[in-house]
């Protein structure tokens, strides 16, 4: 069964460490995403699994087999490239049946597989079309069909939706997941689009600068980010800087800039420690005028954007920090620029992190 185990794998290109001592276990039949900004090493990691490049250190297992020295053609994988890499000199049919043919299947079997996978991606009517004659979505489906036709149980997808329009992308992402699940495949999907990863993955690994920061289900990543970067990269977060004033078993009292005092769940913080509070935009309650209560902060609306589903407000707090608040546009009241408001949030919804040594800007950088 194709689970994939990556053990202490490092890959360098010259002086750049693309993958830095990464260990990861992807379970059999799991739909797994590698998520991170450009240059974080996610594609390199996928190519290492595919055998297109070799690790400098560490081991990669597919099933029980150590595959470090196994060439890509013997790893029994299907790979979908970001650019699709459809062979320009072959039509859809020849592209799709390429795998069965080079593996030496007899013609009848290759044909059966070809028809099956083309049925699955609904491309039967374009058998004779060359890649240059297909739309982006069709090319993508051909690329997936070609990878599936090789009969592999491990499907590797490198930004498979990156080149498509937003609408097509949204449709196809569910289709790929459905096919992988129907066929009982293990899938590793590389993307920099967090909403795509959230929508289709069983689990996600968030990567930055060659390292894995956090592995977990989309819900875990969103609800319990383990680092400032994950809180920033998955969904949106407001970051407020402060110091721990006092801490008890469960709660920590934090003084934000400008002397504003708020409480949050104690995350093994120490008195006097410099911290960053991460609060999701939808966590804030917003009320007109100055109100008192736990974790209440006064502010003035500086910008209002109507986004269809949501209203987004930028609020300048009394300590001059700027926070973003998001509210469903069809529920509750609307606010106007210049209005004085009170924001509040439940302590358990604020995540507290130690202030990063390199600074907040560097920590949240996606470069």
């Amino acid at each position: 069964m194709p689970d994939v185990r990556i053990v202490n794998v490092t890959k360098k290109f010259g002086k750049i460490v693309a993958v830095d001592n990464v260990s990861l276990h992807i379970y059999d039949k799991e739909y797994f995403s590698l998520l991170g900004p450009s240059g974080c090493g996610k594609t390199t990691l996928l190519r290492l699994v595919a055998g297109l490049i070799q690790p400098d250190k560490g081991e990669i297992y597919i099933g029980d087999k150590l595959v470090n020295n196994v060439p890509p053609e013997d790893r029994d994988i299907g790979f979908v490239f970001q650019t699709f890499a459809l062979f320009p000199h072959m039509n859809t049919w020849d592209n799709v049946t390429y795998g069965p043919r080079v593996k030496g299947f007899d013609t009848e079997r290759a044909n059966t597989i070809g028809h099956e996978v083309l049925e699955m991606v609904r491309l039967h009517e374009r058998l004779d079309a060359f890649p240059s004659e297909l739309s982006g979505g069709m090319m993508q489906r051909t690329a997936v069909a070609r990878a599936l036709a090789a009969g592999a149980k491990l499907l590797l997808l490198d930004e498979p939706l990156g080149q498509l329009d937003a609408k097509v992308r949204n449709e196809l992402r569910y289709e790929i997941r459905r096919m992988a699940k129907d066929l009982g495949l293990t899938a590793i999907h590389v993307t920099h689009d967090q909403s795509e990863a959230m929508a289709i993955s069983d689990r996600i690994a968030v990567m930055k600068r060659g390292k894995i920061l956090q592995v977990g289900t989309p819900k875990e990543q969103y609800m319990n980010p383990k680092s400032i970067f994950v809180a920033h990269f998955i969904g949106e977060s407001n970051f407020l800087e402060g110091y721990v004033l006092s801490e008890s078993d469960k709660k920590a009292l934090i003084e934000l800039r400008g002397g504003i005092k708020v409480s949050a769940v104690n995350n093994a913080m120490k008195n006097g420690e410099r911290v960053v509070l991460a609060i999701r935009p939808e966590v804030f309650a917003i009320e007109r005028g100055a109100k008192k209560g736990e974790n209440s902060v006064l502010g003035v609306i500086e910008r209002v954007s109507f986004e269809g589903t949501n209203m987004q407000y930028e609020v300048r707090l009394e300590n001059q920090d700027l926070v973003v608040v998001v509210k469903p546009s069809l529920i509750g009241e609307w606010f106007n620029i210049g209005e004085k408001v009170t924001l509040s949030f439940p302590p358990e919804k604020a995540h507290v992190f130690t202030y990063p040594e390199t600074g907040l800007r560097e920590e949240t950088s996606v470069e």
């Binding site: 650019t83 890499a85 795998g99």
Partner: protein, 541 residues
């Protein structure tokens, strides 16, 4: 693009087209037409005609055979250079260019020494291994056309998107199958281009071929032999003119037909893609098969290309320590003529290079940017390439007839310049139009939106971005001109360096010839190297 004023702009383009037609394309065609009737002479002498036809047939047989072998042997070499992991491959890459810079006349003599001379490989076998004749001609043509093929295929492999091959590997294809079914079919057009270039080089080469041909006659050698017979008064003027016009005409027509056939049927050529032999191909993909393939490739390169090409260094070194060197330095005896010829060759090369840049650049822009619409540009592109595939001696013969018949007052030096311009022009325009095409229109348009006038765009965008291509185009033109023998012999009695060397070979003075070749290689190398250094000093783009 060249200037903001429409009249000036179109004036420049029209001038470029006019010069192309007046100096490059029309004279050779008109030359043949003027002397059309003289061909009757050959038709009336069946023996002469069959000799001419068999010489021409030899030209095509050698060219087809050599270019086929070039492609077959060149692909593994290009593969090794681009895909190998050893750091020595850079050195190999540079080595593979050496036969390029050795002028073919020197190359011919070098091969003659290596294969036939008493100090070459023949010494190992105790008797002459390869005598002048068809086999030596084939070896020679392979030596000078092989680097052309390797260069083109290396370029194609470097530009090629590796993902296709990787996709094929992930689908279960071992490396051999992946390259056979995916990489090379995608690169088919580059392979065809490499084949055509090798073919054209083989058809055109004259100087070195004369050195090694012995009794063997191909088209260019036949024309030169007729010329010699005429000056030795063995044949009369009518027979001489008739035979060279006849041979040139057939060479030009058949070359064009073959070129057209390759252009039409090449792209339709189906490689055996569908069938796959998994077991056999897997065996061919891994260690034993690849190392023996690399071994054979390197053996062919060193034993048949590089060492024979540089063998002339031996007598050249020997000459340095003996009498020929002082003779050479003080221009004693035959050396006076040698130095004059060398100066003539390099001056000619420089003039032709400058002329190419002046009249070739607007033409390259016209072709690449389709200034007069798609169809006219495609037609121009085709016309520009014609001199490339026409054997240079045939081009020279018809060019000389045209100018001498119509403008007898033209100095011979001009004729020489015109002939070399016609031969080198397509090389320059081709490499420049490819370079201009690589510059995205967006870049030009960005400069326009920022306020640059068309002439400004040319000066600040096109020129800096194509600087390296102009240099490489200039290098090709220069080396081609310095090497050219056939057309030079056909149009003038002026003696360039290769012509002098060809004559020396007949008179046999090995050390002098070795030294003469050595100087030619050395100076060519120094000039090319300084060209590179000058440009590099101003930064890369």
């Amino acid at each position: 693009m060249l200037s903001s004023k429409k009249a000036v702009k179109y004036g420049v383009y029209l001038a470029a087209i006019t010069v192309f037609f007046a100096l490059v394309l029309l004279p050779p065609i008109l030359g043949i037409i003027i002397k059309w009737n003289t061909m009757q002479q050959v038709l009336n002498q069946p023996e002469l005609m069959s000799r001419a036809l068999s010489a021409i047939e030899n030209s095509f047989t050698v060219a087809l055979f050599v270019s086929t072998i070039d492609v077959v042997a060149g692909i593994p070499m290009a593969w090794l250079i681009t895909r190998g992991k050893s750091k020595w491959l850079n050195v190999l890459d540079t080595f593979s260019d050496i036969p390029f810079i050795v002028p073919t006349a020197a190359l011919g003599y070098s091969l003659l020494l290596f294969w036939n001379g008493s100090e070459g490989v023949s010494a190992l076998f105790g008797s002459t291994l390869v005598s002048p004749g068809w086999l030596l001609v084939i070896l020679l043509h392979f030596t000078f056309s092989y680097p052309v093929v390797v260069r083109v295929v290396v370029g194609a492999l470097l530009d090629y998107k590796r993902e296709y091959e990787q996709a094929s590997r992930t689908l279960g294809a071992p490396p051999f199958t992946a390259s056979r079914t995916v990489t090379f079919p995608i690169l088919k057009f580059s392979l065809i281009a490499a084949f055509i270039l090798a073919f054209a080089r083989s058809m055109s080469e004259t100087g070195a071929t004369i050195m090694v041909a012995g009794m063997f006659e191909n088209g260019p050698v036949f024309i030169q032999n007729m010329k010699n017979d005429f000056s030795d008064k063995i044949i009369n003027q009518a027979t001489y003119e008739g035979s060279i016009v006849f041979a040139s005409f057939i060479l030009i027509v058949v070359s064009c037909i073959i070129f057209a056939l390759i252009r039409i049927f090449g792209p339709k050529l189906k490689l055996p893609l569908k069938r796959v032999w998994p077991h056999a191909e897997r065996k061919l993909s891994y260690s034993k098969a690849t190392s023996s393939r690399n071994g054979i490739t390197l053996l062919i390169f060193f034993a048949i290309v590089l060492i024979p090409a540089l063998f002339v260094a031996l007598p050249a070194f020997e000459a340095v320590f003996t009498q020929p060197l002082p003779n050479a330095v003080f221009g004693v005896g035959i050396w006076g003529e040698y130095w004059q010829s060398l100066i003539l060759s390099y001056t000619l090369g420089a003039v032709v290079t400058v002329l190419n840049i002046i009249i070739g650049l607007p033409m390259a822009i016209l072709v690449a940017r389709r200034k007069f619409g798609t169809l006219p540009s495609a037609i121009l592109d085709l016309l520009v390439n014609i001199p490339l595939i026409v054997p240079s001696i045939a081009l020279g013969v018809s060019l000389a007839i045209f100018w001498k018949e119509n403008f007898p007052f033209i100095p011979e030096m001009w004729l020489l310049i015109f002939a070399h311009l016609a031969i080198t022009y397509p090389y320059f325009v081709r490499s420049m139009s490819a370079a201009v095409e690589r510059i995205s229109m967006d870049t030009e348009e960005a400069a326009r939106t920022l306020g640059a006038k068309p002439l400004g765009v040319f000066r600040t965008i096109i020129l800096p971005l194509t600087k390296y291509s102009i240099l490489s185009g200039a290098i090709i033109v220069f080396t081609r001109s310095v090497s050219e023998t056939g057309a030079t012999l056909a149009v003038t009695t002026l003696r360039t360096a290769p012509v002098v060397l060809v004559n020396w070979v007949k008179q046999k003075a090995p050390l002098d010839i070795g030294l003469g070749c050595g100087f030619l290689i050395l100076f060519s190398f120094i000039i090319l190297l300084s060209l590179r250094v000058i440009v590099r000093g101003k930064g890369r783009y």
